[in-house]
C-alpha cells in the first residue's frame, strides 16, 4: 500500500496529512518533507493520521524524528486522528501522551 502525504498551512499551523501505510518502504518518501518543514522552522505542526491504516517501527521513527527536530527548534508537533493499528502501536510505545501533550 502506498503512502499519500500532503501539507497544508491552516492559520499558522502546518497540517501534515498521511494516508495509507507509513512503514519501512514508504517512510523514506516522507523524509524530504520532514527536512523541508524543519529547515523552514515550521514550529506548529499537526500530523493528521485519520487516513493512516498501518504504521511500523520505521514509520514511528519518522514521526519521532519530526517531533524531536521541531522541538529542538522550540516548536511543537501534535498527532491527531490515530485509529486502529496505528493507535495501538502508539499506545504500546507509550507515545500517545507525548504527541498529544
Amino acid at each position: 500500500m502506498p503512502l499519500n502525504h500532503s501539507t497544508e498551512d491552516k492559520d499558522g499551523v502546518v497540517v501534515l496529512k498521511l494516508v495509507g501505510t507509513l512503514d519501512a518502504m514508504t517512510a523514506p518518501e516522507l523524509l524530504p518533507t520532514i527536512d523541508r518543514l524543519v529547515e523552514a522552522r515550521k514550529n506548529r505542526i499537526t500530523v493528521d493520521l485519520e487516513g493512516l491504516d498501518l504504521i511500523d517501527s520505521s514509520g514511528v521513527a519518522a514521526i519521532v524524528a519530526l517531533y524531536k527536530r521541531t522541538r529542538s527548534n522550540g516548536g511543537r508537533v501534535t498527532v491527531t486522528g490515530a485509529r486502529d493499528q496505528p493507535l495501538a502501536i502508539f499506545k504500546l510505545l507509550r507515545m500517545d501522551r507525548v504527541f498529544s501533550a
Binding site: 518502504m25 485519520e50 517501527s57 520505521s58 486522528g81 510505545l93 498529544s100
Partner: protein, 171 residues
C-alpha cells in the same frame, strides 16, 4: 471455524513484497475473528476488494504488526550483505488461534542481544522486536539456517488494550 488449515506463502525477502504478506496475514486473521457469512452482501464484497486495509479489530492489528516487524528485520538486516533470498511464511489457522512460522536463509539474529528500548527517551530505532513480542502471545526464534520465527496469537489472550477510534480528537 472449527477445523485448522494451513496457508503458505513464499516471497523474496524484499520490502516491496511485504504488503503481499501483510494482506495475507490480515485475511487469515479475518478467518478467525470475523468469519464471513455464507451469503455476502454486495456492499461487503466491494469493501473487501478495495485497497483499504482493515485492521480495526485488535487481533488483526496486533498480528499484522508483529509479522511486519519480523519481515522488516529479515529484509533489512538478514540479507544486508548477501543476495536476497526468500521468506517462507506458514500460517496455521485454528479455531482460537493463529500460528505463524517465518523462515529465511539470511544472517542469523541474536535475539538475546536486542536491548529493550528506552521508551521514555523517544527512540528512533530498536523498537521492532519490542513491538513483535508485545503483539503476540508467544514468540520464539531459532537461528539457522534456516532461521525460524514462530509466533502464536490466541483470540482470548491479547495483551494490548483494544484501541478506541479517535477520529478527530488528539491522541
Amino acid at each position: 471455524m472449527d477445523d485448522g488449515g494451513v496457508i503458505r506463502l513464499t516471497v523474496p525477502a524484499d520490502l516491496k513484497f511485504r504488503d503481499v504478506a501483510v494482506r495475507l496475514v490480515a485475511e487469515a486473521c479475518r478467518m478467525i475473528v470475523r468469519p464471513r457469512p455464507l451469503q455476502q452482501s454486495p456492499a461487503s464484497s466491494a469493501t473487501t476488494s478495495s485497497t483499504h486495509l482493515d485492521l480495526s479489530d485488535r487481533f488483526s492489528a496486533e498480528m499484522v504488526s508483529a509479522v511486519s516487524e519480523i519481515f522488516n528485520n529479515i529484509a533489512i538486516h538478514g540479507f544486508a550483505n548477501r543476495p536476497v533470498g526468500d521468506i517462507a511464511i506458514e500460517m496455521t489457522v485454528a479455531g482460537d488461534h493463529l500460528a505463524i512460522e517465518i523462515c529465511d536463509d539470511g544472517a542469523a539474529f541474536d535475539l538475546s542481544q536486542v536491548p529493550k528500548p528506552e521508551l521514555d527517551k523517544l527512540p528512533e530505532g530498536g523498537m521492532g522486536i519490542h513491538i513483535a513480542k508485545a503483539c503476540v502471545d508467544e514468540l520464539d526464534y531459532t537461528p539457522g539456517p534456516p532461521n525460524v520465527w514462530r509466533m502464536t496469537k490466541y483470540t482470548n489472550g491479547s495483551r494490548i488494550r483494544k484501541p478506541r477510534r479517535m477520529s478527530s480528537q488528539p491522541l
